[in-house]
């Protein structure tokens, strides 16, 4: 019982410290050119993608090797998704969508390595991806459809009295899109990693308190289970980001529907 009084001091943990950005070499202020842990893990994600898709498929074998079949699987999966959601006109924009998908997927998966850093847990990173999609889609919509693109906000099917109100709501929801698009990804990844860190902080309780006999095994099991969930989330969030990109692209290509 007496040991429980001390346990408060031992449980000082900071689940959000893992998201700190620090320069790779030395200390000091971070400029735009400073190599940090974010740039390191982003570069590693890009290197892994290049390794898988350039070096892995170099053989161009008719019967693919294991690495080549993984690359072909990913390519076919996203290609079919783009074709299903946006139709045949959307296939032109497949390279951009596939690049975004791969970058998010590899950042998420590399971030699951213990001790690593997840670039996609930062809203600054995902906001660039989200606003990039938003601006690209908006410009594309106006270039391809001209003023007809505004038909996205002016519902022809609705009663005339309701149309201005619906237009305002649609306009707001259109401009919230990049915000929710980017925060969804960053929030999911950040929340998952923070939860794992919280349980990780409970794990060494067996060292400081008698109640740890119960708490430690439970939290170790919980970390294992949550890690499995996070592997799933890492893929699903990349998938969701990509499919929403496709949906927004479809709005730009066919604003009437």
């Amino acid at each position: 019982m007496a040991t429980e009084a001390h346990s408060e001091g031992g449980l000082a943990f900071h689940p959000l410290d893992q998201f700190k950005i620090h320069p790779l070499f030395g200390e000091g202020p971070i400029q735009w050119y400073t190599p940090t842990n974010v740039t390191l893990w982003m570069a590693l994600a890009v290197i892994c993608i290049i390794a898988l898709f350039v070096i892995g498929t170099r053989g161009r074998a008719v019967i693919p090797t294991r690495v080549q079949s993984v690359a072909e699987l990913a390519y076919g999966f996203i290609y079919r998704m783009v074709e299903d959601v946006t139709g045949h006109d959307g296939v032109k924009y497949f390279p951009y969508i596939f690049t975004v998908f791969l970058f998010i997927l590899f950042s998420n998966f590399l971030g699951l390595i213990p001790g690593s850093f997840t670039p996609t847990s930062h809203i600054a990173v995902t906001a660039i991806l989200g606003f990039g999609v938003f601006i690209a889609v908006t410009v594309l919509g106006f270039v391809l459809n001209g003023a007809h693109f505004l038909g996205l906000f002016w519902m022809k099917d609705a009663p005339l009295v309701l149309r201005p109100i619906i237009a305002v709501i649609e306009l707001i929801s259109y401009f919230v899109r990049p915000v929710s698009h980017s925060i969804r990804l960053a929030g999911n990844i950040m929340a998952g990693h923070a939860v794992m860190k919280v349980f990780a902080a409970f794990a060494p309780m067996i060292l400081i308190s008698t109640i740890g006999v119960v708490v430690t095994p439970v939290s170790v099991l919980a970390i294992t289970a949550i890690y499995g969930l996070e592997v799933l989330v890492a893929f699903i969030q990349a998938y969701v980001f990509t499919i929403l990109t496709c949906v927004y692209l479809k709005d730009a290509l066919h604003p009437g529907h």
């Binding site: 959000l16 929030g187 499919i243 929403l244």
Partner: protein
């Protein structure tokens, strides 16, 4: 001085209240997935083509929960 203490206390109360939004989002996500399963079991042949819609629905329901999580984080660390 009391005002500062009240503000520090209110920060945590607000963050706790914002966490209710996560629970509400959990209800929303559960409703989406449950209704999808109910529909998929009635017509399994049509279920495969609708998984994309399922994930879009899940993403929209979940985003609002993430917003409340963000509000909680902002109250805890930014305000």
């Amino acid at each position: 001085m009391e005002l500062v203490a009240a503000a520090a206390l209110g920060k945590f109360i607000g963050a706790g209240l914002a966490a209710i939004g996560s629970g509400a989002a959990a209800i929303g996500v559960g409703a989406v997935a449950g209704n999808f399963l109910a529909g998929a079991l009635r017509n399994p042949s049509a279920a495969g083509s609708q998984t994309a819609t399922l994930f879009i629905g899940l993403a929209f329901a979940e985003a609002l929960g993430i917003f409340s999580f963000l509000v909680a984080l902002l109250l805890m660390f930014a305000v």
